[in-house]
Symmetry: C2
């Protein structure tokens, strides 16, 4: 297997829906994947995430069993609420990264199963608290847990899942893993607080925004990959390569997420867009449109995002300003830069079929429309 | 040093304010405390908690330094909010239990410092989330953190402190400590969810109530004491004795807290009473008054506690019903039972000056009026 292809730049000014489709077509071509690590080698869905799930199907099934068994409690509301969110169509991307990293590094035992479940529990706890803080009523297209069960149990069940994650880690017994994931958890919370402080503040620049998403999203991607290498006892430079892959993929992932909140492709799929706009979240598309805006445009952003004084037509106007300044394409372009770094990090690892699939995840992320 | 005195039963029907004062006078007599472990042996305040703080003053100062240094973050809102709550007059009872247990068990190094800080961080995270869930506007007589900073940062800074607690534990490096405190954290969250499910539900009986406070309060007292024995490498039966001490003290502590929310002594001190009543919390005084009540009285409790349909006069009527059925004295009597178990657990430990002070903490708790 040779060097991994970088993510090619796309025309900056092409409408996002088109560029997304191009990217999607490009990365969805069947990639060479000579041998399966775990599952049927013929099972290669075009979607790289589904392909990774298929390759690691046996491991993933064990993780799901562990998740269901460990979210149980004699306090019935806990498994009720936890299974509602854990079972609500999450893609298990973060635990898959732990599984893939461990297998790629040659781990043959089962330590990665419980740790992948711990990673998913930390992620789920964060989602529960996020939705309370954002007052979200939707998550993955269905009513959020706080909408169904209320804010109070969402806060407390989040705490429970967070504690359970650390119980799973203590059962594994590695202080290094505990150090990595407790540090990541503190960084995630810092990122969430920073995001809260930056909300409705157009003084938030690109650097602050990257600090926010580096902490609230990329830190867990980083840690999820790193602990995979760690359980396989790989040398430090390989652990670092996987951590760098995860961190850069995480930033690219969040950038794409933030773009999709304004994306025509999303709207065409009948999905709600503009949630971030309505909440006054200062994400990169807004930062770029504001920075490039005229005085009149900047006044529009101040009224809508800082003062949250919005009319139903304002989202359309925001989209037209983003189109005028190429804010979405430029945001995707930033994501492409981090994607290339993620793929370059993989090249520091020995060749392995899963290495190519992890690179495909990066390409898939840039092209995804959900 | 001989066997430790049990907490004597007080007349069941005496007015609580009187029984509290009696107990307070009894335990405030200077106790024999032949030698100090850490600090000036002459410094013996009547209040056993202050005496314990004085005995462990050097350790406690180090814990406070550690707390301040580890709640720091580049995200300014975190130390602002954290120092507001951590510095808001907490008595540091739980970290003191860790310090006392470690010293009593002969620990001479510094491992207990960071772990005591971790215990306080877990407690503080719980308080922050508690106040959000209870919609409390007061904590220790001043505006609660959620009242001053808002619910959102309170949730997220709670998460940060919880993660920091686990970072402190990983720096200590003991998987056993991590196992004990991650398990305690999960149990605390279960207790909080159970309490939420039981709120406004007069079907909550004494067993359920004891499950709630055993989990939400006693689990951390238990763990705080247990890890003190653990860092000193004491045999399992001594570790268990300290854990039993902590668990029983924790239940007695919460029972007294719940009684004080209805206590004339509190009211005489000018402190607010009836918070639990106004929130419809089903604590032991309510459970006992409801169980002993006539049909008319039970209808009163259903209207006020289950339906939260209250008039300003209802608290006085609730107090008169509690007086009629001796609910507060009977609750204190339950607390006295757990207090005796806590003192009996201490007798399984070798004699030590701190053993007597820990017993005084139990007696002090029964007599406290704040």
């Amino acid at each position: 297997m040779g060097a991994l292809d970088p993510v090619k730049p796309l025309p900056m000014l092409a409408p996002l829906v088109e560029s997304v489709n191009q990217a999607s077509q490009r990365v969805s071509a069947p990639s060479p994947n000579p041998e399966s690590v775990v599952s049927d080698p013929q099972d290669h869905p075009a979607n790289a995430l589904e392909r990774l799930s298929a390759l690691l199907a046996d491991d993933l099934a064990e993780v799901n069993t562990e998740i269901v068994s460990r979210m149980d409690s004699q306090v019935a509301l806990i498994p009720q609420l936890a299974s509602y969110i854990v079972g609500s169509g999450g893609k298990r991307l973060r635990p898959l990264l732990t599984l893939a990293s461990a297998r790629l590094c040659g781990h043959t035992a089962k330590r990665h199963i419980g740790l992948a479940a711990a990673v998913e529990f930390i992620h789920t706890a964060t989602l529960l608290h996020d939705d309370v803080v954002d007052e979200s009523d939707l998550r993955r297209g269905k009513a959020s847990a706080n909408e169904v069960f209320g804010n109070k149990p969402s806060v407390l069940v989040g705490d429970f899942l967070f504690a359970r994650a650390f119980q799973l880690m203590t059962e594994d017994g590695s202080i290094d893993v505990l150090r990595i994931l407790s540090r990541a958890s503190a960084i995630i919370a810092e990122g969430e607080v920073l995001q809260l402080a930056a909300a409705n503040d157009l003084g938030t620049n690109e650097d602050i925004y990257l600090d926010v998403i580096g902490a609230k999203t990329a830190a867990l991607f980083d840690a999820a990959c790193r602990i995979g290498a760690l359980v396989a006892d790989r040398p430090a430079h390989e652990e670092q390569a996987l951590a760098d892959y995860g961190a850069n993929l995480g930033i690219a992932f969040q950038l794409v997420d933030d773009v999709l909140d304004y994306s025509a492709a999303q709207a065409q799929l009948g999905k709600a867009i503009g949630d971030d706009f309505r909440e006054g979240k200062v994400t990169l598309p807004v930062i770029l449109a504001y920075a490039a805006g005229t005085e009149t445009e900047q006044a529009f952003w101040r009224r809508t995002v800082e003062e949250l004084d919005q009319t139903p037509e304002d989202l359309d106007h925001a989209l037209s300003l983003m189109a005028r300044h190429g804010s979405l394409d430029r945001s995707i372009d930033r994501a492409r830069g981090y994607s290339n770094k993620a793929i370059a990090a993989l090249e520091r690892l020995p060749p392995h079929p899963l290495r190519e699939t992890l690179a495909d995840i990066v390409r898939f992320n840039i092209g995804r429309d959900y």
